[in-house]
């Protein structure tokens, strides 16, 4: 593919990000730092000189590092188990572990509070309370990001040829050494990508920290939200947005620099042939350990959630969802389900289209520097405050020709912004691993560059594409920070509805929030299960 074709492919993603990301963010930063048409950059040093702001920065970084390390430690064994071991109910379980990732952060925070807080399960049983320590935040972050590692790393792991490791064993390597020398380097790009995502999510963590952090712990994102919507100090919020932006930019540059060269052409095989029934006490113990971890860390909080939604007799909270006279909304809370699904489908379509175009352009090994730089830029939306993006949409996209305030497309556009990086990150390692000679074989047989992509790349990356679409769908469904600003009052999404219910006093509202969260959880689980089914049905056949 020539450079011209590559740039043509990139035009769509570039325009999308310029219009719906760079422009709104720039607009809101300008709103905060420009007084009477004059930039006041002096604000930046003023704000950064405050010791409480510096403490926020320090805490944000440390908790993100600790959360990332803990998530990798706990989830990597699970990535192995899902990739290489065969056990009944694996596909269902794979969907189940993804559910936490898409739950609204406020719901997760509440669920963890019910588990480890005052009067929570641990308190009842052993008198243990974690809600005043940083451990509650760290565990909630692991709960959230477990699936990121399992899916990103496990997805590639399941397609690595096990015979490579066997070859190393025959050359005298112990099974651990074989794993370390052969499999680990092959997995490194996926592990790095997963670690990067986890770090970004925890660095910009919002709902969890707001609920579990109390007055002691606050991240940048929480501080931005507080400055924007509680203190109305737009200039401090703008400075903090810039700081977060810069920090994320540095992380992405370092990441791009360290990871790029490690992606190499891998021998990918059909995932269905690499998994085996567990053999030996070691593998059984590992499987048992992973299942126990999932039960305690992922299922227990979800179970607490469901249990609380059922606290009223005769499904009282669920029945209350259908009534329009609750006063919380212009419509019955139940309508949020339909809204959320429609928005998420549209957002997924946009994210997959934009992400696939970008991935196709970026996949070539001979990609120029300009193109490779774009690779890192695509990740920025994950690191920029969703609050900023949502608020930016409102103040930037309100004039013709881009007056989208009244358009339903505004919400999917904001949600797709967060979905695109997933699509690119998931597809790029697989696309880059496709043997270039397969493409050449197709070209010599008369396939144009476009048909080569359709006939060779697409079938090989369909798996990755479906995983990417699932992720995009899930994050769209659970997106809260931006949507809360731009969803119209008469068409709330599920997370927005849950947050509004939680914000109102009374057992009925709390119970309804739990019921709606349970519904959201079930919707996600069903969507993910359908995806798993699609995936296994269609491997190996075009």
């Amino acid at each position: 593919m020539g450079n011209a074709a590559r740039l043509a492919l990139l035009a769509g993603p570039v325009a999308f990000f310029a219009l719906f990301f760079a422009y709104p963010v720039a607009a809101i930063v300008a709103r905060g730092l420009k007084v009477d048409g004059v930039w006041r950059f002096g604000r930046i040093t003023d704000v950064l000189a405050q010791s409480d702001i510096r403490h926020v920065l320090w805490f944000t970084t440390c908790q993100a590092l600790a959360s990332t390390a803990l998530t990798l430690l706990i989830a990597l064994p699970a990535a192995y188990v899902f990739a290489r071991l065969d056990f009944p109910g694996k596909n269902v379980l794979r969907a189940v572990v993804t559910v936490p990732f898409v739950l609204p952060t406020v719901v997760v925070g509440t669920a963890f509070l019910a588990l480890v807080g005052r009067g929570g399960l641990l308190d009842d049983l052993w008198g243990v309370r974690l809600d005043t320590t940083v451990w509650a935040i760290l565990l909630a972050h692991v709960f959230f990001n477990y699936a990121v590692v399992v899916r990103t790393v496990g997805g590639l792991w399941s397609q690595l040829d096990p015979r490579q490791e066997e070859a190393a064993r025959m050359l005298g390597a112990s099974s651990l050494a074989a794993w370390r020398k052969v499999t680990l380097p092959a997995l490194a790009p996926a592990v790095a990508a997963a670690a990067l995502m986890v770090f970004l999510f925890t660095f910009t963590s919002f709902g969890v920290v707001q609920i579990l952090g109390g007055p002691t712990f606050s991240t940048l994102e929480v501080e931005i939200y507080r400055q924007t919507s509680e203190i109305f100090d737009l200039s401090t919020a703008a400075v903090l947005t810039l700081v977060q932006f810069a920090a994320v930019g540095v992380i992405l540059v370092v990441h791009a620099w360290t990871v790029r060269r490690r992606e190499s052409a891998l021998r990918l095989v059909d995932a269905s042939v690499t998994a085996r029934r567990p053999r030996g006490p070691g593998q059984w113990a590992l499987l048992a350990g992973v299942l126990a971890t999932i039960a305690v860390l992922l299922l227990l909080p979800l179970a607490v959630l469901v249990q609380r939604s059922l606290d009223a007799p005769g499904f009282g909270y669920y029945r209350a969802l259908t009534s329009e006279d609750g006063g919380t909304f212009l419509v019955a809370p139940i309508a949020a389900i339909g809204n959320s699904l429609q928005y998420a489908v549209a957002a997924t379509a946009i994210a997959v289209l934009i992400g696939a175009l970008a991935a196709a352009a970026l996949a070539r090994r001979d990609a120029g520097r300009l193109v490779r730089g774009f690779d890192a830029l695509l990740m920025l939306p994950l690191g920029v405050s969703a609050v900023t993006v949502g608020f930016g949409f409102l103040i930037a996209l309100d004039e013709p020709p881009l007056d989208l305030r009244q358009s339903w497309i505004l919400v999917p556009l904001a949600q797709a912004l967060v979905g695109v990086p997933f699509v690119v990150r998931t597809m790029l390692p697989v696309l880059r691993a496709v043997d270039v000679r397969l493409r050449e074989a197709a070209a010599v047989l008369g396939a144009s560059p476009f048909r080569v992509w359709r006939e060779v790349d697409l079938p090989l990356v369909r798996r990755a594409l479906l995983i990417a679409a699932g992720f995009a769908f899930a994050v769209s469904l659970g997106e809260f920070g931006a949507t809360v600003f731009i969803a119209r009052p008469d068409s709330p999404t599920l997370p927005v509805a849950v947050a509004r219910l939680l914000g109102r006093p009374g057992d009925l509202n709390y119970g309804q929030a739990m019921a709606l969260s349970t519904i959201l959880m079930v919707v996600c689980a069903v969507a993910l299960l359908v995806l798993e089914r699609l995936r296994t049905d269609r491997t190996g056949e075009f």
């Binding site: 059909d270 000679r437 396939a447 144009s448 560059p449 006939e455 090989l460 190996g540």
Partner: protein, 340 residues
């Protein structure tokens, strides 16, 4: 000429992998490029296929310059060294690929695939998965796939490289027969001289990106053009020589050469068949260091007692001396070639 290369040059970094190569292939001709690994033969094929841009020179097909013509519009076929079958398609899907790219309808594809699979000796294999094929079967599928779009030029990169010996020898005969029947123009590359000689109408020997020699298998076999070609063909009895008239002075003594041999300081090749073992008292005195059974004869390795370069002799099965035995050596001028 169907294919002609003029001054074709490809550089990787500063190194010329293909160095001003001139080559022509006529219609229905089978040309085999022979050379050690790293000699640039695969690059030659990739340049013709349009997968590797030239740094200088030109590639012409049917007299038309192919500069700027992308690989998928050149109408040439390439069979890859490790076949590169599409893993997600079955055998039929692989063979039909080129036909689909040409826009052939389903019915036509079905007929062609069936015929081609019969032609390559895999009748009824269309629904099989490529992962389950043996090496030989994969090779046949790759061949059928390359033949399906009826390329004006079929290129084969180490076509039989990964197969076991008996299969290779059988397939090479089948291939030659098949290409002859179909009238296919073939440009193949291999590092195996046996394969090249069995398959080709004409052999081109490459060295370091350049063409060292070109000719019919017989010509190349009988008259290697220089020491490199001679050694590459497996001849080890090569020594420096000073030729004057019908005699050459060598470390093995004074050897008879054909009368029309080039004169002066040269390299000289003695084919093993031209090394005659005689009684120990006659000719060059040697000790037998090793014997290798070659089926039709025994290769006897000899160390001259005066310290000259070692020699290899081809010897009838029963007449072969034991290791350690002493023997005399005489040379037969008809098996001696003065190299360029």
């Amino acid at each position: 000429m169907l294919l002609s290369l003029q001054g074709a040059t490809v550089r990787f970094g500063g190194r010329a992998v293909l160095d001003a190569v001139d080559l022509a292939v006529a219609e229905h001709e089978i040309v085999c490029v022979l050379g050690p690994s790293g000699s640039g033969k695969s690059t030659l094929l990739r340049a013709v296929a349009g997968l590797q841009p030239l740094d200088a020179g030109r590639v012409a097909l049917d007299g038309r310059d192919q500069a700027g013509v992308p690989a998928h519009r050149r109408g040439v076929g390439l069979m890859f060294q490790d076949h590169q079958l599409f893993p997600q398609r079955d055998v039929g899907g692989n063979v039909a690929f080129g036909l689909r790219m040409r826009g052939a309808d389903k019915k036509e594809q079905g007929v062609e695939v069936r015929e081609l699979l019969e032609l390559v000796g895999l009748p009824g294999a269309a629904r099989r998965a490529v992962a389950g094929l043996s090496g030989g079967e994969q090779q046949r599928v790759a061949l059928a796939r390359a033949l399906a779009p009826r390329p004006r030029l079929l290129m084969l990169d180490e076509p039989l490289g990964q197969l076991d010996r008996s299969l290779r020898e059988r397939l090479v005969v089948e291939l030659r027969e098949l290409f002859g029947r179909l009238g296919t123009t073939v440009l193949a590359v291999t590092h195996d001289q046996g394969e090249a000689f069995a398959l080709a109408d004409r052999v081109v020997v490459m060295r370091d990106g350049r063409i060292a020699q070109s000719g019919t298998p017989l010509e190349v076999w009988q008259r290697p053009v220089d020491e490199f070609v001679a050694r590459f063909l497996g001849f080890d009895n090569v020594v420096p020589a000073t030729v004057a008239g019908a005699a050459a002075v060598t470390p093995w003594g004074k050897l008879p050469v054909p009368e029309d041999a080039p004169q002066g300081t040269r390299s000289l090749l003695v084919r093993p068949a031209g090394v005659r073992l005689v009684a120990a008292a006659e000719g060059l005195r040697c000790t037998v260091t090793a014997r290798t059974f070659k089926g039709t004869h025994v290769a006897v390795h000899l160390r001259p007692e005066d310290g000259g370069p070692r020699l290899e002799a081809a010897c009838a099965l029963r007449a072969a001396p034991e290791v350690g035995q002493e023997t005399g050596v005489e040379f037969d001028s008809t098996e001696i070639v003065v190299l360029g």
